[in-house]
């Protein structure tokens, strides 16, 4: 019996050896293949629990970071100054779409971007826990805060760009929200907050700076029309148009008026320069009719209308309509009709004028820094487009300077600094509150910053408000914040 038993013992031993071998194969030798299987949700959840990189402002201060948590995701995303940066950072959820930088640079932050492949390989070999790359933004805390505070309780947005590099110095959308309340791991809790926020009439989740419902630009669009006129070679700032107090639109019984209700300065004729300085509608409408719908559309497209810009979040394309009849073209020439824009686009227009006609690609990202502190990517200023010549840019700039110095944008005046600016007061419909604008740059001769400000709902003043009253002072504070650095 013992002989058989020895043989059976050997068989049992072989069975166990088979189990030892099969477990070793699975748990040691083929783990990498198994972990990279797309159906392996454990890997997916592990990627959530890899420590996500930080988001820093231009000064290196941490805006968003992942701190250890006790649940399966191992880390909790925490936002410092959550509302101040909500339009920039977005929020990080575990299984929903992430907006803002959290979403558009999610692969770098989580460490899964292609550039990080070899780092990850190295981590597997050395057994280190993977960590995502950090993103340093171009957002300057002082400028961001100035814009945020200046907007106050108004609904609206501010975008400030360095015209020479395209670096976005501030991007604020109001009302703001607290990303900490959305970066929760409990999905039902997330949806409770999300639905509450998105269900509001003016949802804080909408980034009004780049992707809101788009705004009527009003008079800030005159900069595009003036550029088109000068670029055509047929007009100079001194080209003049009839100067009545009322102008009947062709094929229509409607009249258009200037903002104050009177003529555009004294005299039977008003120049383009005067029309920009005092923000007159009637001369611009005549200019628009003379240029034609298509010429304005071409110029608008060169500034970036019709394109989605990646900063790296994607902006909603601004719209200048084509195929307009004569009266519609005249209305569109001072930013009414079906003109629709983002504050980003208006800031880009100003930045192009400020930078001698060269429009730089706007971006929020200064640097992407690997966990070992090496730089994966850094901002290299690239030209987005050259919509106008340096000469045209200089002429439009001078008109904008006069608008601030003694015209319709006077509230943007800064002592000791030459500011170029343009206001806008866009109509939205009979009786509806105006949309208020300011765009400009400073110092005019060596611009450090170009800004666009939009305030919805007439800043709470209905139809009594105008751009110079509400938007220009906000723009001024943002410009000052940059100049005071």
């Amino acid at each position: 019996m013992s002989k058989q038993l020895r043989r059976v013992s050997i068989v049992v031993l072989m069975m166990f050896v088979a189990l030892f071998v099969s477990s070793s194969i699975i748990q040691v030798f083929s783990t990498d293949t198994l972990k990279s299987d797309s159906r392996n949700v454990r890997t997916l959840y592990d990627s959530y629990s890899a420590q996500r990189g930080e988001i820093l402002d231009a000064n290196g201060k941490v805006i968003a970071q992942s701190v250890p948590s006790k649940d399966v995701y191992k880390f909790q995303r925490v936002y410092a100054d959550p509302k101040l940066y909500s339009a920039v950072t977005g929020y990080f959820t575990i299984n929903q779409a992430n907006p803002g930088i959290e979403g558009s640079l999610g692969d770098y932050l989580s460490g899964t971007a292609n550039e990080q492949f070899f780092d990850n390989l190295n981590n597997i070999v050395t057994g280190k826990t993977p960590k995502g790359a950090s993103v340093q933004l171009t957002i300057d805390r002082a400028v961001q805060k100035a814009a945020y505070d200046a907007l106050g309780d108004n609904r609206g947005a501010v975008v400030a760009i360095d015209p020479k590099t395209g670096a976005i110095l501030a991007m604020v959308s109001k009302p703001a929200y607290d990303p900490n309340q959305l970066a929760v791991h409990d999905t039902s809790k997330f949806f409770a907050t999300y639905n509450a926020l998105s269900g509001q009439k003016y949802s804080p989740l909408v980034n009004r700076a780049i992707a809101g419902d788009l705004y009527h630009p009003g008079s800030v669009f005159k900069l595009v029309v003036a550029s088109a006129a000068l670029e055509s070679g047929k007009y100079t700032p001194e080209s003049s148009f009839l100067n009545p107090a009322r102008l009947q639109l062709p094929e229509s019984t409607s009249f258009i008026q200037n903002a104050g209700g009177g003529t555009c300065g004294a005299g039977a004729k008003a120049t383009i320069a005067t029309a920009i300085k005092l923000s007159c509608n009637i001369p611009m409408a005549q200019l628009g009719a003379a240029l034609g719908n298509q010429a304005i559309a071409d110029q608008a497209a060169k500034f970036g209308f019709g394109q989605s810009v990646q900063i790296p979040m994607k902006s909603t394309p601004s719209i200048y309509p084509t195929g307009l009849d004569a009266p519609q073209t005249m209305l569109s020439a001072f930013g009414q009709s079906d003109d629709r824009v983002t504050p980003l686009q208006i800031a880009m227009d100003s930045a192009a004028i400020a930078n001698g006609g060269v429009e730089m690609q706007p971006t929020l990202v200064q640097k992407i820094i690997a966990p070992d502190l090496s730089t994966i990517k850094s901002l290299t200023p690239t030209v987005f487009s050259t919509p106008i010549s340096a000469d045209t840019a200089a002429k439009v700039r001078d008109m904008m300077i006069s608008s601030v110095a003694g015209g319709a944008a006077s509230n943007a005046t800064i002592d000791g600094v030459e500011v170029a600016g343009k206001t806008g007061t866009a109509e939205n419909g009979p009786g509806d509150p105006y949309t208020l604008w300011f765009t400009g740059f400073a110092p005019a001769n060596d611009p450090k910053v170009a800004v666009a400000v939009v305030v919805e709902n007439g800043g709470g003043l209905g139809q009594d408000a105008f751009g110079n009253l509400v938007a220009a002072p906000i723009g001024k504070k943002v410009l000052e914040a940059v100049l005071n650095k």
Binding site: L5, M15, L19, S22, S23, I26, Q27, V28, R39
Partner: protein, 477 residues
């Protein structure tokens, strides 16, 4: 053993003045008490770290999942520890020479199983009687009590030989119970359950104990006719046709389980058990050749005709193909998820309570091994497999050292059936063989399996006690 020396004709001079037969007598009593107690003391010394490991595992699970400890489950586990100690005390009284390793081994295995089941309950947010962990503790308590009863009642294992035919009938009854209408229940495709009211039970688990007793009793009496006569073909002596009866009956029963209960694992387990006991009893390799041949033919026929067997084999051979992974029936989803879990654990595991074992279906029962593998890593898996191997080898030791052939055969059979079951389940989970629906002994959630395996442990303890108590005069070559 030092005992005989005290009976030597010339006892050494006693230190006391009160010399003579009386002091020799007291010495003897003292020796009798001390020598066997050595084994029980060793058992106790091993039980302390075994219970410690289990308590540590439970605390780790609680700390990892909630950051604090919860007295409730620890109290319940403490009651189990008391029961284990009660079994230890019972053995001091009725089986003092029993094997000292078996109880500590199954304590660790059972406890680790409870910890892991409890851990998955936590992630499923189950508590109270809803919690499979709490039910597992209750079943374990019942299993230990039954084991104590077995070891106290059965003082001499030879009585079991007398009841071999009763064992046979109860074994067959337990086997066919699930096939009966009304009480038979199909769970996860296999009809191996009976349900009475809210309770469900897998009678086949107990059936394996009964059948092991029957096989041992029957083979001890019948082995002469099964091993002596036969016809020589090539170098092997094959049995006469008229002696083929028993193997054909068991084969038929196994195939019936395969076809009607759709339970590949149980079928393989019973047939494997019979074959090994037959071989050990008769010493004829031809039985094994015959048996394996029959089983292979049967399995092949099943593979080509029974769709669930085809499915199982396909999802074993090509588990990772998308067609098998997403199949509606017999998909390899479970097994692949289990393997993902094992891979996630890697060499050292995620740590108890820190992995994601709940992503695998049946993580508490059929896939408890992958759950433990994920959280304890290959290191923990090797430890668990080593414990099983040790358990089986303690059983085989009875076979090597036993005095009576019935006891030896029964010890080998019971130990082998546990070893084979471990191989079938874990081999299925790690893709050594197709996946079947057996439970992992002592670890997996399930009352029937716990009760059956604790009875097996109690019988092995009883057998081992007999081995050590019987003086050995002849050492077998």
């Amino acid at each position: 053993m030092p005992a005989p020396t005290s009976w030597s004709p010339n006892p050494p001079p006693a230190p006391s003045y009160d010399a003579g037969p009386r002091s020799t007598f007291t010495n003897t009593i003292r020796l009798k008490l001390r020598v066997p107690a050595r084994l029980r003391n060793l058992e106790l010394a091993l039980l302390v770290p075994a219970l410690g490991i289990v308590a540590f595992a439970l605390v780790l699970v609680q700390l990892a999942t909630s950051g604090k400890t919860d007295a409730g489950i620890l109290t319940l586990a403490g009651l189990l520890a008391l029961l284990v100690l009660a079994m230890h005390v019972a053995m001091r009284l009725v089986a003092p020479n029993a094997d000292p390793l078996i109880l500590p081994i199954i304590t660790v295995l059972n406890g680790l199983g409870i910890a892991e089941i409890y851990r998955i309950d936590i992630s499923a947010k189950l508590s109270g009687w809803e919690s499979a962990g709490v039910r597992q503790i209750a079943w374990t308590a019942m299993a230990i009590v039954i084991a104590i009863v077995v070891i106290v009642l059965i003082r001499n294992h030879r009585v079991l030989q007398r009841y071999r035919y009763i064992a046979m009938f109860s074994g067959i009854l337990l086997l066919i119970l699930p096939m009966l209408p009304l009480i038979g229940t199909t769970i996860n495709g296999a009809r191996v359950w009976i349900s009475v009211g809210p309770f469900s039970f897998q009678p086949g688990e107990l059936g394996k104990v009964a059948l092991a007793i029957f096989f041992a009793g029957y083979l001890v009496t019948a082995r002469d006719s099964l091993s002596m006569v036969g016809r020589k073909v090539l170098w092997m002596t094959f049995p006469r046709a008229r002696d083929l009866g028993p193997i054909l009956v068991v084969f038929a029963a196994s195939m019936a389980v395969l076809i009607f209960q759709k339970d590949l694992g149980t079928s393989l387990l019973y047939f494997g058990l019979f074959l090994v006991m037959l071989y050990v009893a008769t010493g004829r390799a031809s039985w094994v050749v015959l048996g394996v041949g029959m089983f292979l033919v049967g399995a092949y026929v099943a593979f080509t005709t029974l769709s669930y067997v085809t499915g199982r084999v396909n999802s074993w051979l090509d588990a990772f193909s998308n067609a098998n992974y997403t199949a509606q029936v017999n998909s390899s989803y479970q097994i692949v998820q289990g393997i993902f879990g094992l891979a996630h654990g890697g060499l050292i595991g995620t740590g108890l309570g820190l992995g994601q074992p709940y992503r695998t279906p049946l993580a508490r029962s059929d896939f408890i091994f992958s759950s433990l593998g994920e959280e304890l890593g290959l290191v923990g898996i090797f430890a668990i497999l080593a414990l099983y191997l040790l358990f089986v080898s303690r059983g085989f030791r009875i076979g090597f050292a036993g005095e009576d052939d019935f006891g030896r055969l029964l010890g080998v059979g019971l130990a082998f059936v546990v070893g084979l079951q471990v191989f079938i389940v874990i081999g299925g989970v790690t893709r050594v063989i197709p996946l079947t629906g057996l439970t992992t002994p002592f670890l997996a959630a399930g009352g029937s399996s716990l009760v059956a395996n604790w009875i097996i442990a109690a019988l092995l303890l009883r057998l081992s006690d007999t081995v050590r108590t019987t003086p050995r005069l002849v050492v077998e070559p």
